[in-house]
Amino acid sequence: MHINGARAVIESLKNEGVELIFGYPGGAVLTLYDEIYKTKFPHILTRHEQGAVHAADGYARATGKVGVCVATSGPGATNLITGIATANIDSIPLVCITGQVATPFIGKDSFQEADVCGITSPITKHNYLVRYAEDLPRVLKEAFFIAGTGRPGPVVIDIAKDAFAAEFDYEYPDSVNLRGYSGINIGDEKTIDSVVTALQKAKKPVIFTGGGVISSDTHKFLRKFASSMHIPVTSTLMGLGCADPDSDGYLGMAGMHGSYASNIAIMECDLLIGIGVRFDDRVTGIVNQFAPNAAIIHFDIDHAEINKNIKTELSVIGDLQWSLPLFLEKTAPYVSSIKSNCKEWYEYTIKMQKENPFTYKEDKTHILAQEAISKISDMSGPDTVAVTDVGQHQMWTAQFFKIYGPRNFITSGGLGTMGYGLPAAMGAKLGMPQKKVLLFSGDGSIMMNCQEMATLADYAIDIKIIVIHNSVLGMVTQWQRMFYGKRYSHSLFKSKADIVKIAQAMGIKGYRIEKKEDLKTGLEKIFSEHGPVLIDIVVPEVQDVLPMVPGGKRLDEMVLEGDI
């Protein structure tokens, strides 16, 4: 097939099974967009490149496929940076195609030129600068392979404008040949044997699960592991949905805003089995006091995660698709003995969780965020996808919205990117049209990418946006209240932007709920409507996310209520 580079990109996307891309055109990608036009390749035009990259990320998290976005050179590419870093730290597979100025102009400070490979090197799994059209099939094949295998991550392909235009004989390779990367992650079986031995000796084991279980689609093995052996499960923010929230031994989220039972179980356990986690500082509290009485076991695909933050006694390095089934097979003969060894502990943790659920003091006159989120959780089916932005509402959603399955909770965990939610929810809905998609946002976060409401209107993307509107930067004020003598430096919004009117101006429906008595009926009415809707729920300014483990403290030094 004799085609130009731009068409070669489209054909390669087709070969990779890509069904939808997100993007924003511009000078350096005009040839590519011309081919998108001619081939009618499915493309969502966002209102900002940041919207495109977050949408591709939300699509990838919801579907498990590689998300694809396109941007032009210079400012188009630099607008992707936040989204690439967000995907990188949460290990989300993305292929980001950026235009670059034509080869003779590279390095001459040309119009809309930026060194995209230089800028993105520290925040990508890999990147490419393509100068010749002939290289495109190989590079695209490699990019999808690197992004989607092993520990997933974003790959940037920066393509010179003249490479889009140059014609050549296109042929898509069947396989990749990378000297420094295999994508095969079978580990050492002996490491699993030693974990089985350790588990047999344990009296107080805890499973600590993370995002790796979701990206490897191994939640079924995890659930079987926990339920068959009666081992309590706690999760990181990224791992929500791995375990069934209604199951007996599930203790909820651990960490800074984690449940009492989870944090105490981590502090008291004698064996902690981390699966697909990276022991982030938000979840460990002070690192040298994390699980102080436990032998720590770490299952992970990434060799570099072992002993990075937490020293582990045993590690099982390899794909969870390999290690977890093998582990279950090897523990099968000992299931009943493990179960009886841990009986007392299991019952103790369940009791602790029942007695200390996430809670809040109801307010007689005002709607509280926690209350609204709980109500919405009760009204939503198990197949609902909850997407969040970043801040107090994010933590409250993690605490009060029940997540029943993997890929049903989409949040910027590692980078904590405000403005992530709206475009990510958009991508999630486009990837999973059969699922109901809710976005929980705040009046701070929603403004950071509110332009994407126009995209919702353009494509009638049916998501329901719930804005928890407290007129302040909630998490910032919480920290200022607790640790900075209530000096609310630049965290209170002076003007009250009318978010409902913004929604309406962008072409989607908008409602406001202010009165407590309107909450239930208001929500019911809105959820029955078809198409994108924004609901602005007015809540009080002063409200803390609790429990909270202050920075530098142990997990059992959490504050449960009142001031610190």
Binding site: C117, S121, I146, G150, G180, N185, I301, D302, A304
Partner: protein, 176 residues
């Protein structure tokens, strides 16, 4: 603590940036860096001498091995490896002291590579200590310029850097 690392990489633009980025992100100062071709044209070999805490070095090695363009990483043990670097020293000299200087150079097996009426240039290779001792003896005569290449390191015996490549879970490839 001083460390010497050899990194076998794909011979491509941009790879050095990724490798060196791992050091700058951790504020590790690179004492010496050398990049060169190997027996196979598709690979380059980077040798880096730097200082850093040992437990962070382990982490750094794992992170380096994860880079798709990195084929193998090897941490050298000074007892099992040969380190070499070359130094050029330009020194003031006159007819009256030239013979004295050349005698010192002979003791250190430094080679004269340029002679002018008022200057000499020496080339010296070998371990750090030897080069330092040589320059100290030359100081009284007036050193005009010193330039050093990055040091390179090679393990003694039959082991090569590619033997590390085949040991997953050790320093080599590729658990990601």
């Amino acid at each position: 603590m001083k460390h010497a690392l050899s990194v076998l990489v794909n011979n491509q633009p941009g790879v050095l940036l990724r490798v060196v980025g791992m050091f700058s992100r951790r504020s590790f100062n690179i004492d010496s860096l050398s990049v060169g071709i190997t027996q196979s044209p598709e690979y380059s070999r980077i040798t880096i001498f730097f200082s850093g805490e040992t437990h962070i070095v382990d982490q750094l090695i794992k992170q380096l091995s994860k880079i798709p363009d990195v084929a193998a990483v090897q941490l050298h043990n000074p007892e099992d490896a040969v380190y070499r670097g070359m130094t050029l020293i330009k020194i003031k000299s006159s007819e009256s002291n030239r013979l004295d200087i050349l005698k010192i150079a002979e003791l250190f097996r430094a080679r004269v590579v340029d002679v002018q009426a008022t200057t000499l240039i020496f080339e010296i290779t070998g371990q750090d200590e030897k080069v330092v001792a040589f320059t100290r003896l030359l100081e009284p005569y007036g050193i005009l310029e010193i330039i050093r290449t990055g040091q390179i390191a090679l393990e003694r015996g039959e082991q090569t850097i590619t033997s590390y490549k085949e040991k997953p879970g050790f320093y080599g490839k590729n658990m990601l």
